[in-house]
Protein backbone atom coordinates (compact mmCIF):
# COMPACT_ATOMS: atom_id res chain seq x y z
CA UNK A 1 0.00 0.00 0.00
CA UNK A 2 1.42 3.37 -0.98
CA UNK A 3 1.69 5.91 1.80
CA UNK A 4 -0.13 9.16 1.17
CA UNK A 5 0.25 12.60 2.73
CA UNK A 6 -2.41 14.37 4.79
CA UNK A 7 -3.53 16.36 1.75
CA UNK A 8 -4.08 13.23 -0.34
CA UNK A 9 -6.53 11.27 1.83
CA UNK A 10 -10.26 11.78 2.51
CA UNK A 11 -11.09 13.71 5.71
CA UNK A 12 -12.35 12.18 8.93
CA UNK A 13 -11.04 8.70 8.21
CA UNK A 14 -13.72 8.13 5.60
CA UNK A 15 -13.03 5.39 3.10
CA UNK A 16 -14.66 6.34 -0.18
CA UNK A 17 -13.91 3.13 -2.04
CA UNK A 18 -15.86 0.03 -1.05
CA UNK A 19 -13.89 -3.18 -0.58
CA UNK A 20 -10.45 -1.61 -0.63
CA UNK A 21 -9.44 -3.65 2.43
CA UNK A 22 -8.12 -6.03 -0.24
CA UNK A 23 -5.20 -3.68 -0.81
CA UNK A 24 -4.22 -3.95 2.85
CA UNK A 25 -1.84 -6.88 3.11
CA UNK A 26 -2.47 -8.41 6.51
CA UNK A 27 -0.34 -11.45 5.72
CA UNK A 28 2.65 -9.78 7.36
CA UNK A 29 0.92 -10.12 10.75
CA UNK A 30 1.19 -13.92 10.61
CA UNK A 31 3.10 -15.98 13.18
CA UNK A 32 1.88 -19.41 11.98
CA UNK A 33 1.59 -20.28 8.32
CA UNK A 34 -1.09 -22.69 7.09
CA UNK A 35 0.47 -25.43 4.92
CA UNK A 36 -2.01 -27.10 2.57
CA UNK A 37 -1.64 -30.73 1.56
CA UNK A 38 -3.36 -31.23 -1.77
CA UNK A 39 -3.00 -35.03 -1.45
CA UNK A 40 -5.20 -35.39 1.63
CA UNK A 41 -7.63 -32.48 0.92
CA UNK A 42 -11.18 -33.70 0.24
CA UNK A 43 -12.40 -30.22 -0.91
CA UNK A 44 -15.18 -30.11 1.67
CA UNK A 45 -14.57 -26.33 1.86
CA UNK A 46 -15.13 -26.06 5.61
CA UNK A 47 -11.95 -23.95 5.71
CA UNK A 48 -13.38 -21.65 3.05
CA UNK A 49 -16.56 -21.15 5.11
CA UNK A 50 -14.67 -20.54 8.34
CA UNK A 51 -11.82 -18.32 7.12
CA UNK A 52 -12.37 -14.79 8.54
CA UNK A 53 -10.13 -13.22 5.90
CA UNK A 54 -11.45 -14.87 2.71
CA UNK A 55 -7.99 -16.32 2.18
CA UNK A 56 -8.96 -19.78 0.94
CA UNK A 57 -8.55 -19.73 -2.83
CA UNK A 58 -11.01 -21.71 -4.96
CA UNK A 59 -11.46 -22.59 -8.59
CA UNK A 60 -14.55 -24.32 -9.88
CA UNK A 61 -15.62 -25.43 -6.41
CA UNK A 62 -12.25 -26.85 -5.46
CA UNK A 63 -9.58 -25.51 -3.16
CA UNK A 64 -6.48 -24.35 -5.02
CA UNK A 65 -4.40 -22.79 -2.27
CA UNK A 66 -4.16 -20.08 0.39
CA UNK A 67 -3.82 -16.32 -0.15
CA UNK A 68 -0.77 -15.68 2.01
CA UNK A 69 -0.88 -11.92 1.36
CA UNK A 70 -4.04 -11.70 3.49
CA UNK A 71 -3.98 -14.82 5.71
CA UNK A 72 -3.26 -13.68 9.32
CA UNK A 73 -2.45 -17.22 10.44
CA UNK A 74 -5.32 -17.62 12.91
CA UNK A 75 -5.43 -21.40 12.33
CA UNK A 76 -9.22 -21.71 12.16
CA UNK A 77 -8.90 -23.54 8.81
CA UNK A 78 -6.59 -26.16 10.32
CA UNK A 79 -8.89 -26.55 13.32
CA UNK A 80 -11.94 -27.07 11.11
CA UNK A 81 -10.26 -29.45 8.67
CA UNK A 82 -12.09 -32.81 9.18
CA UNK A 83 -9.62 -35.24 7.55
CA UNK A 84 -7.00 -37.33 9.35
CA UNK A 85 -4.20 -36.54 8.83
CA UNK A 86 -5.29 -32.91 8.40
CA UNK A 87 -4.95 -31.28 5.00
CA UNK A 88 -3.99 -27.98 6.63
CA UNK A 89 -1.24 -27.81 9.19
CA UNK A 90 -0.04 -24.66 11.02
CA UNK A 91 3.73 -24.17 11.21
CA UNK A 92 5.77 -21.36 12.74
CA UNK A 93 6.79 -18.92 10.01
CA UNK A 94 10.39 -19.05 11.27
CA UNK A 95 10.43 -22.84 10.98
CA UNK A 96 9.03 -22.65 7.44
CA UNK A 97 11.58 -20.02 6.45
CA UNK A 98 14.45 -22.01 7.97
CA UNK A 99 13.22 -25.12 6.16
Amino acid sequence: MSEKTWTEIPIGGAIEEAGNAETYETGSWRTYRPLWNEETCIHCLRCWVACPDSSILLSEGKMTGIDLEHCKGCGICAFECPVDPKAIEMKLETDVENG
Binding site: E3, W6, I9
Partner: protein, 393 residues
Protein backbone atom coordinates in the same frame (compact mmCIF):
# COMPACT_ATOMS: atom_id res chain seq x y z
CA UNK B 1 -38.46 41.49 8.79
CA UNK B 2 -37.77 41.00 12.50
CA UNK B 3 -39.84 40.12 15.51
CA UNK B 4 -39.26 41.53 18.99
CA UNK B 5 -39.61 38.67 21.45
CA UNK B 6 -39.13 38.20 25.17
CA UNK B 7 -37.28 34.93 25.58
CA UNK B 8 -34.93 33.21 28.00
CA UNK B 9 -31.59 32.07 26.60
CA UNK B 10 -32.89 28.50 26.47
CA UNK B 11 -36.01 29.58 24.59
CA UNK B 12 -33.90 31.70 22.24
CA UNK B 13 -31.81 28.62 21.37
CA UNK B 14 -34.98 26.55 20.91
CA UNK B 15 -36.46 29.28 18.68
CA UNK B 16 -33.33 29.21 16.50
CA UNK B 17 -33.57 25.40 16.39
CA UNK B 18 -37.25 25.61 15.40
CA UNK B 19 -36.30 27.80 12.46
CA UNK B 20 -33.31 25.65 11.51
CA UNK B 21 -35.53 22.54 11.76
CA UNK B 22 -32.67 20.02 11.75
CA UNK B 23 -33.26 16.51 10.42
CA UNK B 24 -32.37 14.82 13.70
CA UNK B 25 -32.18 16.08 17.29
CA UNK B 26 -31.12 13.83 20.18
CA UNK B 27 -32.08 14.98 23.65
CA UNK B 28 -31.35 14.09 27.24
CA UNK B 29 -32.21 16.47 30.09
CA UNK B 30 -29.74 18.15 32.41
CA UNK B 31 -30.12 21.38 34.34
CA UNK B 32 -29.86 24.14 33.13
CA UNK B 33 -30.20 22.88 29.54
CA UNK B 34 -33.45 20.95 30.18
CA UNK B 35 -35.84 23.79 29.26
CA UNK B 36 -34.13 24.21 25.90
CA UNK B 37 -35.10 20.71 24.79
CA UNK B 38 -38.48 20.99 26.57
CA UNK B 39 -39.23 23.94 24.34
CA UNK B 40 -37.94 22.21 21.22
CA UNK B 41 -39.98 19.09 22.08
CA UNK B 42 -43.05 21.36 22.20
CA UNK B 43 -42.27 22.54 18.67
CA UNK B 44 -42.02 18.89 17.61
CA UNK B 45 -45.27 17.94 19.40
CA UNK B 46 -47.07 20.91 17.86
CA UNK B 47 -45.99 19.83 14.39
CA UNK B 48 -44.04 23.05 13.80
CA UNK B 49 -40.90 21.16 12.76
CA UNK B 50 -40.22 17.98 10.84
CA UNK B 51 -37.19 17.06 12.95
CA UNK B 52 -36.85 13.51 14.25
CA UNK B 53 -36.52 13.95 18.02
CA UNK B 54 -34.68 11.00 19.56
CA UNK B 55 -35.09 10.71 23.32
CA UNK B 56 -32.05 8.81 24.48
CA UNK B 57 -31.01 7.28 27.80
CA UNK B 58 -27.87 9.35 28.49
CA UNK B 59 -25.70 12.11 27.08
CA UNK B 60 -23.23 9.52 25.83
CA UNK B 61 -26.09 8.15 23.76
CA UNK B 62 -27.23 11.66 22.77
CA UNK B 63 -23.89 12.42 21.16
CA UNK B 64 -23.64 8.88 19.74
CA UNK B 65 -27.06 9.21 18.10
CA UNK B 66 -26.13 12.65 16.78
CA UNK B 67 -22.88 11.30 15.32
CA UNK B 68 -24.74 8.39 13.71
CA UNK B 69 -27.34 10.70 12.21
CA UNK B 70 -24.69 13.14 10.97
CA UNK B 71 -22.71 10.30 9.38
CA UNK B 72 -25.90 9.19 7.67
CA UNK B 73 -26.05 12.66 6.11
CA UNK B 74 -28.61 14.34 8.38
CA UNK B 75 -28.32 17.88 9.77
CA UNK B 76 -28.04 16.91 13.42
CA UNK B 77 -28.13 18.72 16.74
CA UNK B 78 -28.17 18.07 20.47
CA UNK B 79 -27.63 20.21 23.59
CA UNK B 80 -26.24 19.69 27.07
CA UNK B 81 -24.54 21.12 30.17
CA UNK B 82 -21.70 20.29 32.55
CA UNK B 83 -21.69 16.63 33.60
CA UNK B 84 -23.78 15.80 30.56
CA UNK B 85 -20.99 17.16 28.38
CA UNK B 86 -18.48 15.23 30.49
CA UNK B 87 -20.41 12.00 29.90
CA UNK B 88 -20.47 12.72 26.16
CA UNK B 89 -16.76 13.36 26.09
CA UNK B 90 -15.61 10.24 24.26
CA UNK B 91 -18.03 10.86 21.41
CA UNK B 92 -17.54 14.65 21.44
CA UNK B 93 -13.94 14.00 20.38
CA UNK B 94 -15.07 11.47 17.78
CA UNK B 95 -17.63 13.88 16.27
CA UNK B 96 -14.84 16.35 15.49
CA UNK B 97 -12.46 13.61 14.34
CA UNK B 98 -15.04 12.33 11.85
CA UNK B 99 -15.56 15.92 10.64
CA UNK B 100 -19.31 15.89 11.30
CA UNK B 101 -20.85 19.39 11.24
CA UNK B 102 -22.98 18.95 14.36
CA UNK B 103 -24.21 22.05 16.22
CA UNK B 104 -24.64 21.80 19.99
CA UNK B 105 -25.74 24.53 22.37
CA UNK B 106 -23.97 24.02 25.71
CA UNK B 107 -25.47 25.81 28.70
CA UNK B 108 -22.44 26.48 30.86
CA UNK B 109 -22.56 24.91 34.30
CA UNK B 110 -19.94 23.97 36.87
CA UNK B 111 -18.64 20.42 36.76
CA UNK B 112 -19.27 18.46 39.95
CA UNK B 113 -18.08 17.91 42.56
CA UNK B 114 -19.08 18.89 45.07
CA UNK B 115 -22.35 19.05 43.23
CA UNK B 116 -23.28 22.37 41.68
CA UNK B 117 -25.84 23.23 39.02
CA UNK B 118 -24.86 26.88 38.53
CA UNK B 119 -22.77 28.67 35.97
CA UNK B 120 -19.11 28.49 35.30
CA UNK B 121 -17.10 27.57 32.24
CA UNK B 122 -15.41 24.43 33.53
CA UNK B 123 -17.53 22.24 31.23
CA UNK B 124 -16.73 23.82 27.85
CA UNK B 125 -13.21 24.93 28.82
CA UNK B 126 -12.54 21.32 29.72
CA UNK B 127 -13.19 20.27 26.15
CA UNK B 128 -11.46 23.17 24.43
CA UNK B 129 -9.05 20.73 22.80
CA UNK B 130 -11.64 18.27 21.45
CA UNK B 131 -11.61 19.83 17.97
CA UNK B 132 -14.94 21.66 18.22
CA UNK B 133 -15.36 25.30 17.31
CA UNK B 134 -16.56 27.22 20.38
CA UNK B 135 -18.66 30.38 20.24
CA UNK B 136 -19.42 32.08 23.59
CA UNK B 137 -22.58 34.20 23.87
CA UNK B 138 -23.07 37.35 25.95
CA UNK B 139 -26.88 37.35 26.06
CA UNK B 140 -30.02 35.69 24.65
CA UNK B 141 -29.76 37.69 21.42
CA UNK B 142 -26.30 36.29 20.79
CA UNK B 143 -27.48 32.79 21.67
CA UNK B 144 -30.12 33.03 18.95
CA UNK B 145 -27.75 34.59 16.42
CA UNK B 146 -24.85 32.21 17.20
CA UNK B 147 -26.95 29.04 16.88
CA UNK B 148 -28.10 30.08 13.38
CA UNK B 149 -24.60 31.08 12.28
CA UNK B 150 -23.12 27.89 13.74
CA UNK B 151 -25.01 25.80 11.18
CA UNK B 152 -23.34 27.56 8.26
CA UNK B 153 -19.93 27.67 9.92
CA UNK B 154 -20.01 23.94 10.69
CA UNK B 155 -21.21 22.99 7.22
CA UNK B 156 -18.73 25.18 5.32
CA UNK B 157 -16.74 22.83 3.06
CA UNK B 158 -13.38 24.25 4.16
CA UNK B 159 -14.31 23.70 7.83
CA UNK B 160 -16.60 20.68 8.37
CA UNK B 161 -16.20 20.73 12.13
CA UNK B 162 -18.80 20.60 14.90
CA UNK B 163 -19.67 23.84 16.70
CA UNK B 164 -20.55 24.42 20.35
CA UNK B 165 -22.58 27.53 21.09
CA UNK B 166 -22.14 28.24 24.77
CA UNK B 167 -24.10 30.48 27.12
CA UNK B 168 -24.06 30.98 30.85
CA UNK B 169 -26.33 28.70 32.85
CA UNK B 170 -29.23 30.50 34.60
CA UNK B 171 -27.67 33.94 34.03
CA UNK B 172 -28.58 33.67 30.34
CA UNK B 173 -30.44 30.37 30.08
CA UNK B 174 -33.18 31.25 32.59
CA UNK B 175 -33.33 35.03 32.28
CA UNK B 176 -35.94 36.56 29.99
CA UNK B 177 -34.62 39.25 27.68
CA UNK B 178 -35.92 41.21 24.73
CA UNK B 179 -34.39 40.08 21.49
CA UNK B 180 -34.87 40.48 17.77
CA UNK B 181 -35.66 37.25 15.98
CA UNK B 182 -35.86 36.87 12.22
CA UNK B 183 -38.79 35.50 10.27
CA UNK B 184 -38.66 31.79 9.41
CA UNK B 185 -38.15 32.03 5.65
CA UNK B 186 -35.10 34.31 5.67
CA UNK B 187 -33.41 32.04 8.23
CA UNK B 188 -34.21 28.89 6.26
CA UNK B 189 -33.08 30.41 2.98
CA UNK B 190 -29.92 31.75 4.60
CA UNK B 191 -28.81 28.42 6.07
CA UNK B 192 -29.96 26.61 2.91
CA UNK B 193 -30.43 22.94 2.31
CA UNK B 194 -27.81 20.70 3.90
CA UNK B 195 -25.76 18.82 1.33
CA UNK B 196 -23.53 16.41 3.25
CA UNK B 197 -20.07 15.62 1.91
CA UNK B 198 -20.62 11.95 2.68
CA UNK B 199 -23.65 9.88 3.53
CA UNK B 200 -23.80 6.33 4.76
CA UNK B 201 -27.24 5.96 3.21
CA UNK B 202 -26.02 6.31 -0.39
CA UNK B 203 -26.11 2.66 -1.46
CA UNK B 204 -24.85 3.55 -4.95
CA UNK B 205 -21.64 4.83 -3.39
CA UNK B 206 -21.03 2.61 -0.37
CA UNK B 207 -18.34 3.85 1.96
CA UNK B 208 -16.86 3.35 5.40
CA UNK B 209 -16.87 5.68 8.40
CA UNK B 210 -14.67 5.20 11.43
CA UNK B 211 -12.24 2.50 10.32
CA UNK B 212 -9.11 1.50 12.19
CA UNK B 213 -6.49 4.22 11.62
CA UNK B 214 -3.58 3.31 13.91
CA UNK B 215 -0.02 4.35 13.03
CA UNK B 216 -0.87 4.40 9.33
CA UNK B 217 -3.02 7.54 8.95
CA UNK B 218 -4.23 8.79 12.36
CA UNK B 219 -1.45 11.41 12.41
CA UNK B 220 -2.44 12.64 8.92
CA UNK B 221 -6.10 12.87 9.99
CA UNK B 222 -5.14 15.00 13.00
CA UNK B 223 -3.14 17.25 10.67
CA UNK B 224 -6.27 17.67 8.53
CA UNK B 225 -8.25 18.69 11.62
CA UNK B 226 -5.62 21.30 12.43
CA UNK B 227 -5.96 22.64 8.91
CA UNK B 228 -9.76 22.88 9.22
CA UNK B 229 -9.30 24.85 12.46
CA UNK B 230 -6.80 27.10 10.67
CA UNK B 231 -9.38 27.82 7.98
CA UNK B 232 -12.21 28.37 10.47
CA UNK B 233 -11.50 31.96 11.66
CA UNK B 234 -11.92 33.35 8.14
CA UNK B 235 -15.17 31.41 7.81
CA UNK B 236 -16.48 32.57 11.20
CA UNK B 237 -15.71 36.16 10.15
CA UNK B 238 -17.29 35.74 6.71
CA UNK B 239 -20.46 34.10 8.06
CA UNK B 240 -20.65 36.79 10.77
CA UNK B 241 -20.53 39.49 8.11
CA UNK B 242 -23.13 37.76 5.92
CA UNK B 243 -25.38 37.31 8.94
CA UNK B 244 -25.03 41.01 9.62
CA UNK B 245 -26.16 41.81 6.08
CA UNK B 246 -29.31 39.76 6.65
CA UNK B 247 -30.10 40.64 10.26
CA UNK B 248 -28.42 44.00 10.85
CA UNK B 249 -26.29 42.34 13.55
CA UNK B 250 -22.80 41.59 12.21
CA UNK B 251 -20.47 39.31 14.19
CA UNK B 252 -16.71 38.90 14.43
CA UNK B 253 -14.25 36.61 16.21
CA UNK B 254 -13.77 39.14 18.99
CA UNK B 255 -15.50 42.35 20.02
CA UNK B 256 -13.80 45.41 21.40
CA UNK B 257 -15.72 47.77 23.67
CA UNK B 258 -14.02 51.14 24.14
CA UNK B 259 -10.85 49.20 23.40
CA UNK B 260 -9.21 51.27 20.69
CA UNK B 261 -7.53 53.82 22.98
CA UNK B 262 -7.86 51.77 26.18
CA UNK B 263 -4.87 51.69 28.52
CA UNK B 264 -6.55 49.35 30.98
CA UNK B 265 -8.22 46.33 29.38
CA UNK B 266 -10.34 43.53 30.71
CA UNK B 267 -10.69 40.30 28.73
CA UNK B 268 -13.80 38.20 29.29
CA UNK B 269 -16.25 35.73 27.75
CA UNK B 270 -19.99 35.29 28.10
CA UNK B 271 -22.46 37.26 30.23
CA UNK B 272 -19.73 38.95 32.30
CA UNK B 273 -18.96 41.08 29.24
CA UNK B 274 -22.29 42.87 29.70
CA UNK B 275 -21.43 43.72 33.31
CA UNK B 276 -17.94 44.87 32.27
CA UNK B 277 -19.39 47.24 29.64
CA UNK B 278 -21.43 49.10 32.29
CA UNK B 279 -18.35 49.38 34.52
CA UNK B 280 -16.34 50.72 31.58
CA UNK B 281 -19.02 53.35 30.91
CA UNK B 282 -18.70 54.51 34.53
CA UNK B 283 -14.90 54.60 34.35
CA UNK B 284 -14.91 56.41 31.01
CA UNK B 285 -17.24 59.06 32.49
CA UNK B 286 -14.51 59.74 35.05
CA UNK B 287 -11.83 59.90 32.37
CA UNK B 288 -10.24 56.45 32.86
CA UNK B 289 -9.21 54.86 29.58
CA UNK B 290 -10.85 51.52 30.25
CA UNK B 291 -11.89 48.95 27.66
CA UNK B 292 -13.11 45.39 27.13
CA UNK B 293 -11.98 42.62 24.83
CA UNK B 294 -14.79 40.10 24.47
CA UNK B 295 -13.79 36.76 23.00
CA UNK B 296 -16.67 35.30 21.03
CA UNK B 297 -14.71 32.61 19.21
CA UNK B 298 -12.49 30.83 21.73
CA UNK B 299 -11.82 27.85 19.44
CA UNK B 300 -10.13 28.39 17.13
CA UNK B 301 -8.32 31.00 19.23
CA UNK B 302 -7.87 34.16 17.14
CA UNK B 303 -4.36 34.83 18.39
CA UNK B 304 -3.26 37.52 15.90
CA UNK B 305 -6.53 39.49 16.17
CA UNK B 306 -6.33 39.42 19.96
CA UNK B 307 -2.68 40.54 20.05
CA UNK B 308 -3.56 43.41 17.69
CA UNK B 309 -6.62 44.41 19.72
CA UNK B 310 -4.59 44.54 22.95
CA UNK B 311 -1.62 46.33 21.39
CA UNK B 312 -2.21 49.66 23.10
CA UNK B 313 -3.05 48.31 26.55
CA UNK B 314 -0.66 49.05 29.42
CA UNK B 315 -2.35 46.63 31.82
CA UNK B 316 -4.62 43.69 31.09
CA UNK B 317 -6.89 41.71 33.40
CA UNK B 318 -8.02 38.32 32.09
CA UNK B 319 -11.21 37.02 33.68
CA UNK B 320 -11.46 33.23 33.86
CA UNK B 321 -14.67 31.52 34.93
CA UNK B 322 -12.89 28.18 35.26
CA UNK B 323 -9.69 26.74 36.67
CA UNK B 324 -6.95 24.85 34.90
CA UNK B 325 -5.68 22.96 37.91
CA UNK B 326 -1.91 23.00 38.25
CA UNK B 327 -1.48 25.30 35.27
CA UNK B 328 -0.10 28.84 35.45
CA UNK B 329 -3.50 30.57 35.45
CA UNK B 330 -6.93 29.97 33.95
CA UNK B 331 -7.38 28.73 30.38
CA UNK B 332 -8.20 32.14 28.89
CA UNK B 333 -5.29 33.75 30.74
CA UNK B 334 -2.81 31.20 29.40
CA UNK B 335 -3.93 31.73 25.82
CA UNK B 336 -3.82 35.53 26.13
CA UNK B 337 -0.34 35.28 27.62
CA UNK B 338 0.73 33.10 24.70
CA UNK B 339 -0.85 35.48 22.18
CA UNK B 340 1.04 38.44 23.67
CA UNK B 341 4.38 36.62 23.69
CA UNK B 342 6.37 37.91 20.76
CA UNK B 343 3.72 40.50 19.87
CA UNK B 344 5.82 43.34 21.27
CA UNK B 345 3.35 44.00 24.09
CA UNK B 346 4.89 45.11 27.36
CA UNK B 347 1.56 45.23 29.18
CA UNK B 348 1.28 43.99 32.74
CA UNK B 349 -0.96 40.94 32.90
CA UNK B 350 -3.17 39.79 35.77
CA UNK B 351 -5.49 36.79 35.89
CA UNK B 352 -8.71 36.80 37.90
CA UNK B 353 -10.47 33.53 38.61
CA UNK B 354 -14.11 34.39 39.34
CA UNK B 355 -17.66 33.13 39.42
CA UNK B 356 -16.96 29.44 40.03
CA UNK B 357 -20.09 27.41 40.75
CA UNK B 358 -22.30 30.39 39.97
CA UNK B 359 -20.70 32.80 42.48
CA UNK B 360 -22.05 36.19 41.47
CA UNK B 361 -19.79 38.69 39.75
CA UNK B 362 -20.85 42.23 40.47
CA UNK B 363 -19.87 45.58 39.01
CA UNK B 364 -17.85 46.18 42.21
CA UNK B 365 -15.70 43.15 41.42
CA UNK B 366 -14.88 44.46 37.97
CA UNK B 367 -14.19 47.91 39.42
CA UNK B 368 -11.80 46.14 41.80
CA UNK B 369 -9.97 44.57 38.83
CA UNK B 370 -9.70 47.94 37.05
CA UNK B 371 -8.42 49.58 40.25
CA UNK B 372 -5.69 46.91 40.40
CA UNK B 373 -4.84 47.57 36.76
CA UNK B 374 -3.97 51.19 37.59
CA UNK B 375 -1.10 49.82 39.73
CA UNK B 376 -0.19 47.08 37.23
CA UNK B 377 0.07 49.68 34.45
CA UNK B 378 2.79 51.46 36.40
CA UNK B 379 4.63 48.51 37.91
CA UNK B 380 4.14 45.71 35.37
CA UNK B 381 3.01 42.13 35.96
CA UNK B 382 2.97 41.55 39.74
CA UNK B 383 4.40 38.50 41.49
CA UNK B 384 0.89 37.45 42.54
CA UNK B 385 -0.57 37.54 39.03
CA UNK B 386 -3.21 34.88 39.72
CA UNK B 387 -5.95 36.51 41.75
CA UNK B 388 -9.60 35.97 42.64
CA UNK B 389 -12.78 38.01 42.47
CA UNK B 390 -15.56 37.22 44.94
CA UNK B 391 -13.63 34.55 46.86
CA UNK B 392 -13.74 34.67 50.66
CA UNK B 393 -10.05 34.89 51.55
Amino acid sequence: MSRRLILTGNDAAAEAMRQIDPDVVAAFPITPQTELMHKFAEHVADGEVKAELVLVESEHSAMSATVGAAAAGARSMTATSANGLALMWEIVYIAASYRLPIVMPVVNRALSGPINIHCDHSDTMGCRDTGWIQLYSENAQEVYDNVIQAIRIAESPEVLLPVMVTFDGFIISHTAEVLEALEDDPVRNWIGEYKPKYTLLDTDNPMTFGPLDLQDYYFEHKRQQMEAMRAAPATVKKIGKLYGEMSGRPYDLIEGYQLEDAELAVVALGSTCGTAKVVIDELRAKGTKAGLLKIRCFRPFPEAEIAAALKGAKAIAVLDRSVSFGAPGGPVHKEIKAALFGSGSSAGLVNYIYGLGGRDISMEHIHEAFADLETVAGEGTPADAIRFLGLRE
